[in-house]
């Protein structure tokens, strides 16, 4: 295609957040009337790229970006989203930005209403013009008609099904005469299948009218169906540009995930096939906001490290949180032939099950208390350890000496960098805080340990110590570990089996040695593809 036909060109975009490179020399071109699909794992840089395009303040506050953006061959650098909208870029967000009490028409035309003259204008100025309801209705209908969808312009947003809210958002962008490029960020995430289909049809229709679209989605089949071209991002780089018609989901998935497998993959997975089942999860539902679990069935075998992977928001974190009783759960969980009471943290902890939460600062730590208390608190409350009984057990005195001793042990063995075990937890770095969370779980001497996102937000050095520590705990103490992580590479490096969660369900369990493409396909909810190939 000729250079001049591109509507948008983003050339050589580089962006780092405080030295952490998130985009490396990314080039993105969108032709007029073309739909470009943008795919990548969480953290691949999709959102950052779109934020740069929109000139979001967060970009400027963190030192701007390198590279050039051309819109219709004119170089642009938007200082704010308003400028971007002015220039004809529309965005439809994952979360709806609509006024619930207004009708579709009012939302579509908000702040661009058709108006009529009245006498007050003479005194108070333009802002007091009367709304021209008829004209507005007409404009709204014409915007909706462009989409070819069923949408009642007089319906109040709060009474609409989610699909219609999505259409209202898009119709709003359509009413702007200047809109040339539309960014759809996961537009189908909350829609039902039939709504999604209508939505895709509408997008195609818009493209035929000459509008360019950047389409971001985690549903691979959708992206493939709708886009003309696919751009695959991985670790902040464009790994490949593909013509949608000439590729397969498998190829896309493997490109998206495809890291080289590092050495030292555990190969003992076979041994566990015969070992007993310690934990059996049957039809577990967990109501955790943003990480809904919708009927998970899973078996954990004694002594193994089971990984749970999947994209963010698909429900992988909900499983551990639900079992530990931190979020309302329903279903059946059997631990060593005994039914585990749900929604009851004390009983679960009492059975020798420990949990390292993904929310380190929120759930994992007492930030204003010293390290040693952080480490032993749960053991003290649940197991009654570190207690000296005085006056015949009437007073349960805290054994500060023993607490300090045990804390020092863990400080040494986990290489927690601190001045002393009396330092407050909030003064430590993320990696060291994570080690405290691990120590807190280890001190319980658990038989089964849930670990969620153990390496999120910590530096590389600390990462390897944390993973090493988990492996050692598994080997030396025979602790069964269920590790949830967004980082597939990490799961593959220490797990014996890896279960992939998509849309709140386990979609498949693979050995760590499986083809990366299979993991990618499972994450994107394309389990049929995997079964076909295995």
């Amino acid at each position: 295609m000729d250079e001049k036909n591109y509507l948008l060109r983003m050339e050589g975009i580089n962006k780092d957040f405080f030295g952490n490179q998130v985009l490396k020399d990314v080039t993105l071109r969108v032709a007029k009337g073309e739909i470009v699909g943008l795919v990548g794992e969480n953290g691949a840089g999709k959102s950052t790229l779109m934020n740069i395009l929109f000139g979001l303040p967060v970009i400027h506050q963190t030192g701007g970006y390198q590279g050039k953006i051309y819109l219709e061959d004119k170089e642009v650098n938007f200082a704010s989203p308003f400028e971007a909208i002015e220039a004809g870029i529309g965005m439809v967000h994952q979360e709806f930005i609509l006024i619930p009490g207004f009708t579709a028409t009012e939302n579509i035309l908000l702040n661009r209403e058709s108006t009529k003259y009245n006498i007050f204008v003479e005194v108070f100025g333009e802002r007091l013009k009367t709304l021209n309801r008829q004209e507005m209705h007409k404009r709204a209908v014409s915007a909706i008609e462009k989409l070819e969808v069923q949408l009642n312009p007089d319906m109040v947003v709060s009474e609409m099904p989610v699909g219609h809210r999505q259409f209202t958002e898009i119709a709003r962008e359509m009413d702007r005469k200047s809109t040339k490029l539309l960014v759809l960020d996961e537009p189908t995430a909350v829609l039902t299948e039939s709504e999604a289909e209508t939505m895709l049809k509408a997008a195609r229709k818009l493209a035929n009218l000459g509008l360019s679209i950047i389409f971001i989605s985690h549903r691979l089949s959708e992206v493939l169906a709708i886009s003309d071209r696919l751009i695959i991002l991985r670790d902040g780089q464009v790994v490949r540009e593909l013509e949608s018609s000439r590729t397969t989901p498998r190829e896309v998935a493997s490109l998206m995930v495809g890291r080289e497998i590092k050495e030292g993959l555990s190969k003992k997975s076979k041994e566990f096939e015969k070992s007993e089942i310690v934990l059996e999860i049957k039809d577990l539902w967990v109501d955790m906001p943003g990480e809904q679990v919708n009927g998970v069935d899973l078996q954990v075998r004694k002594g193994e490290i089971l990984g749970i992977g999947g994209l963010a928001g698909q429900g992988k974190l909900g499983i551990a949180n639900g079992i530990m009783g931190l979020f309302p759960a329903e279903g059946e969980v059997v631990y060593r032939d005994e039914k585990l009471p749900l929604n009851n943290p004390v009983r679960v902890l009492g059975k020798g099950i420990a949990f390292v939460s993904e929310d380190r600062r929120g759930v994992g730590l007492l930030l204003d208390e010293p390290i040693d208390l952080n480490i032993v608190f749960t053991a003290m409350q649940i197991q009654g350890r570190f207690i000296k009984k005085l006056m015949g057990g009437l007073i349960k005195w805290r054994d500060d000496k023993e607490i300090a001793r045990v804390a020092r042990e863990y400080v040494d063995s986990l290489q927690i960098k601190c001045v002393s075990e009396k330092q407050n937890a909030k003064e430590l770095s993320g990696g060291n805080q994570q080690k405290i969370c691990l120590a807190k779980a280890f001190v319980l001497e658990p038989d089964l340990l849930f670990v969620s996102e153990p390496t999120r937000g910590i530096d590389v050095g600390a990462k390897s110590v944390v993973l090493e520590t988990l492996k050692r705990q598994n080997r030396e103490h025979g602790t069964t570990i269920v590790m949830t992580s967004s980082e597939l590479e990490e799961l593959r490096s220490i797990c014996d089996r890896i279960a992939i969660v998509s849309e709140g369900k386990i979609v498949g369990i693979l050995p760590p040695t499986a083809d990366p493409a299979d993991f990618g396909l499972l994450m994107l909810g394309e389990q049929e593809e995997v079964k076909a190939s295995v």
């Binding site: 007492l366 930030l367 409350q381 005195w397």
Partner: protein, 347 residues
Amino acid sequence: MFEKIKKLIEKAGWPRIIIGLFLLSLFFIAPFVGIKVSTSISDTIVRFAMNAVLVLSLVPMVQSGCGLNFGMQLGVIAGLIGAITSIELGITGLAGFLVAIVIAIPFAAILGFLYGLLLNRVKGDEMVVATYVGFSSVAFMSMMWLLLPYKSPNMIWGYGGEGLRTTISVEGYWLGVLNDFLSIKVGNFFFPTGTIIFFGLMALIIWIFFKTKLGTAMTAAGSNPVYARAAGVNVDRMRVLSVVISTIVAAIGILVYEQSFGFIQLYMAPLLMAFPAVAALLLGGASVSKASMGNVIVGTFLFQGILTMTPSVMNNIIKSDMSEVIRIIVSNGMIVYALTRRMKVRT
């Protein structure tokens, strides 16, 4: 040496250093405007001793995350009921004082329990709700004081023969039972040994409590409720327990206050009781979520010191009686100062 001083200042915190120096300067000025230093020091210590238990009563609720107990009046009312009942029974001396405590405790426990349940329903707004709980309970009791069937002629209105007086003297019952116990008297200087020992014991009990399993759980519930829940602590129960303890200690605190002050004050007198205590604790370096015995002692001493010294020094300088005005300015100014400082820490 210099490093050491720097560390010491850091540990104490600038506000306490500045106010401490201000208080010290007042003691220096006092003799020049005709105030005896021995009297002023003695006054400060007596006021410290009579108020310290009330300040102490705030600590459990702060530690459990219920915030500053602006509803302290509830405990004060329980203490008042204990005090007048004890007088009604006509028991004198230390026995009368102890009976008052014994009677006050169950009332405080029941009121505290209900108050705790209420505070669990308004998490995040405890302090605002507490303020109004305190105010309305005082108003309610103003009616009750008139209606309760107390008969002792020392306590009821002389003319009607019915209803309790606004101010009831404890003289002849248990005035100064703690203050005078083992007290030291040298000229104008008076040291209320008994009251100090009593406060010491109370503080020790609270301190021990927070060193136990239960107390640790309470601290954790205040520090991070989600963490505590994940560790199997029933956060709501911890909060209710802390409110009960705070209310009981406040009931005892008001009795200690009265035996030193000499009067039981009913009706609207307890209305603003919580504010000076809160101001003292904050001045001592406590935050809304963390308080220690050190905060209580340092804060009460500095606050009561300023409150005692400023009016008397000022009165003597400007030669007119401004003491009440100055008292109000100093005490409320201190709360404003302490609460704005809290905001700063938060952000």
